[in-house]
């Protein structure tokens, strides 16, 4: 055996798998398909606005030719361009009338560099939702199974947040919250008065407000309120694989990382019911090679993981590895976004703030939970809120030039607020990732084909989220209140999940309650593909907790000789 463990992917899930497996004494290989990246020295976070290439603009012709999909992500600019794939080099297909935005980057650390850093726990409402309304299958775990692992990953990652005592948004191990600004504090008071079952709290986020000794020992420091996060953070103030998990894994002496290695397939030995090898293609030379280990963690991201399993066909698994259930690639979900509302507030003109806070506030789900009745859809939504005073940008739409314009723009503009809805999508078998039957990429691997649409429940939920957001802003005294608009294409929230779901029954699910494949005992999958339903909260914290839990389970089994 070359290694005790192989981890495919180095993003949020892969980084956690590497850390936990290495810390349990296992010689671990991380295989990353993208290029190597150096923490700090490869970031553009110390560039002032006038030093950023083209003031943030990516050339129009380059966007059209190479980044048509990736540029849809609001964090895409000239200082972050290195964190997105070129669509021209990494194509995928969809039906012509059913777009899907597959937003991603191929490099060490994956999307842990560009993630939104919002971190919330799922609750038993989420783990019980499928069983309650009969959509999808029941989760094989409940909150009590994962709660201690949330504790563990929150302490290590460093999560800033306020304790609220809500059943639908369990509290965690928090560093001090980033306080609400003047307008948000007034909004909170008003909303909690008018809608006593709703709550407004500081956005919980993976930022060090007060680093612990463990954080400092890894070279991480406190958040400096720059909000250059998506460029990478030289202070290591927010959690990423590069700032936290991979350095921790490295410290054990058990970590090996290979980059530019694209997993082509996993070889399966039916006599032993095990993965016998991980075949990779060198991204640059296109030469093939293979690695062996006792246990394999696939953390290649929801769509990437499905692609690898589907491509790993064998006599025993003609539909793809660990796919006797035919669930691999199915039940693709992504949070509903594009919904919510915005408005301006006439008050607080003598108040301002200092620093660029990298989070906002959160208004957790109430619909179909604490507020029931008069609802024509299942599940629900939460709102992330952002507010601040406008600056010079407002002049783009307002007439005015000369000394008068300069004078006016010296003073901040009115307060603005946005309520950004994140809605739950139901798991549907037809929302599906398959391999293209004819088209291949430059390495000869079949292209991914994504067919995913919103249904009637999603549309009804979106309408109500828009209506609620408008109503809340109006009731809090906002003006110019407008719904944000239409549902964006699936994929747009970059919360894709569900393509190798967990479940109790091997006939309907891919993974058991420990993220272990029902059909292949040394295969674990802990990225978003394992999610049996998608809840309403940002999912990365749950991937971290499930990964840590699965890695320690696997290490226990290896140690006891049961695997």
């Amino acid at each position: 055996m070359d290694f005790d463990a192989i981890v495919v992917g180095s993003g949020i899930s892969g980084g956690w798998a590497a850390k936990e497996l290495c810390e349990r004494g296992l010689k671990t290989l991380v295989i990353e398909r993208g290029r190597h990246v150096n923490h700090r020295t490869d970031y553009l976070d110390f560039s002032a606005p006038w030093e950023v290439p083209n003031r943030g603009k990516v050339p129009e012709a380059e966007v059209a030719e190479h980044y048509a999909v990736q540029s849809q992500c609001q964090a895409f600019n000239s200082a972050t361009k290195q964190w997105w794939v070129r669509d021209s080099e990494h194509p995928y297909s969809t039906p012509a009338d059913r777009p899907y935005h597959w937003i991603r980057g191929y490099h060490l650390g994956g999307r842990s560099i560009t993630w939104g850093r919002q971190t919330y726990r799922l609750s038993d409402y989420d783990f019980g939702a499928n069983q309650q309304d009969g959509n999808g299958i029941d989760w094989p775990i409940r909150y009590a199974d994962i709660s201690p692992w949330y504790d563990r990953v929150e302490r290590f990652a460093g999560i800033s947040g306020a304790t609220e005592g809500l059943d639908q948004l369990p509290d965690g191990q928090f560093l001090p919250p980033m306080e609400l600004n003047c307008l948000e504090s007034a909004f909170k008071k008003k909303i909690e008065q008018e809608f006593p079952r709703r709550r407004v709290t500081s956005g919980r986020c993976a930022h060090l407000t007060e680093p612990t000794a463990e954080h400092v020992a890894l070279g991480r420091g406190p958040c400096q309120l720059r909000s250059n996060c998506e460029r990478g953070c030289g202070y290591g103030a927010y959690f990423s694989s590069l700032s936290a998990t991979l350095p921790a894994a490295q410290k054990t002496g058990n970590l090996t990382v290979v980059t530019d290695a694209i997993v082509e397939r996993l070889d399966y030995d039916h006599a032993k019911r095990r993965i016998s090898g991980v075949r990779v293609i060198d991204a640059n030379t296109k030469q093939g090679r293979s690695y062996q280990a006792r246990v394999v963690f696939v953390c290649a991201s929801t769509i990437g993981t499905a692609q690898i399993l589907l491509a790993s066909q064998s006599e025993y698994f003609p539909r793809g590895l660990a796919n006797h259930s035919d669930a691999v690639g199915r039940h693709l979900m992504d949070h509903l976004v594009g919904i919510g509302a915005s408005g301006t507030h006439p008050g607080f003109l003598d108040r301002y703030y200092y620093g660029r806070r990298p989070t906002g506030f959160y208004l957790p789900r109430y619909i179909n939970l604490t507020e029931k009745g008069d609802v024509d859809f299942l599940r629900g939504y939460g709102f992330q809120g952002y507010s601040g005073r406008s600056s010079w940008e407002r002049a783009e739409n307002e007439a005015g030039i000369g000394a008068e314009l300069k004078d006016r723009l010296r003073t901040p503009g009115p307060w603005e607020m946005k309520l950004v809805g994140f809605g739950e999508m139901l798991p549907k078998a037809d929302n599906r990732v398959t391999l293209h039957t004819t088209r291949k990429d430059r390495w000869g691997l079949p292209l991914v084909h994504i067919d995913c649409t919103h249904g009637e429940n999603e549309r009804r939920l979106a309408n109500r989220a828009n209506r609620d957001a408008v109503q809340m802003l109006l009731s809090a005294g906002f003006e110019n209140v407008k719904p944000l608009g239409e549902l964006r294409a699936p994929g747009h929230s970059v919360h894709e999940m569900g393509t190798a779901r967990m479940g109790r029954d091997p006939a309907t699910s891919v993974l058991n309650g420990h993220n272990q494949a029902h059909d292949v005992q040394n295969l674990f999958i802990t990225d978003g593909s394992c999610m049996t339903s998608c809840g309403t909260v940002n999912p990365s914290l749950t991937y971290m907790a499930l990964t840590a839990r699965a890695a320690n389970y696997a290490a226990d089994r290896l140690a006891s000789g049961e695997m």
């Binding site: 306080e179 108040r351 703030y353 200092y354 620093g355 010079w392």
Partner: protein
């Protein structure tokens, strides 16, 4: 472009001179501005963001930024749109005051750009929106615009969630 929205009918002689002038704007593949266009651009930018108790657009390098950004970032069609705005400025100067923009006194330059700004923004003219966007980005995201006209710190180091505006003084550039 909705140039018609700002065009008044000028005299015959003035239009003939205008036609001669605009010949110089023709053809600039890859390059954003020729020398004559750039001279006009500088003064238009300075009218939009003038020197007051802080430096204006020229001192902050806005015209040079626009040249650079249009060559490094813009497509041929963006360059044509921006050049079209300069044509509109020149047309309006001729039709309103019977002279080239650069020959006008400061108060008349201000009046030309004021009319252009209010009418083209009201008409939602996309070329002018792009022009004004670049002027504003060029100024307020320059070192002078961000740090002397407005407030900007690379490393704020702290979050103060609710403070009197008078303590901060001016709007933040980012």
């Amino acid at each position: 472009m909705l140039l018609g929205a700002v065009l008044l009918v000028g005299g015959g002689a003035a239009l003939t001179r205008f036609a001669r002038k605009t010949d110089a704007f023709a053809g600039s593949s890859g390059r954003a501005f020729n020398a004559e266009q750039f001279a006009l651009l500088e003064q238009v930018c300075e009218v939009i963001i003038p020197t007051t108790d802080t430096p204006g657009a020229i001192a902050a390098g806005v015209p040079e930024f626009m040249r650079q950004i249009l060559e490094a970032w813009g497509t041929e069609s963006s360059r044509a749109e921006i050049a079209g705005v300069l044509v509109a400025v020149e047309k309006l100067a001729w039709s309103k005051f019977g002279a080239a923009f650069l020959e006008l006194a400061p108060d008349r330059r201000l009046e030309v750009i004021k009319v252009l700004d209010s009418e083209l923004l009201a008409a939602k003219d996309s070329a002018y929106a792009k022009f004004k966007h670049l002027v504003l980005v060029g100024y307020y995201q320059s070192e002078i615009g961000a740090t002397r006209e407005l407030r900007y710190e690379l490393v704020p180091g702290a979050w103060r969630s609710c403070v009197p505006l008078s303590e901060i003084g001016r709007a933040s550039a980012v």
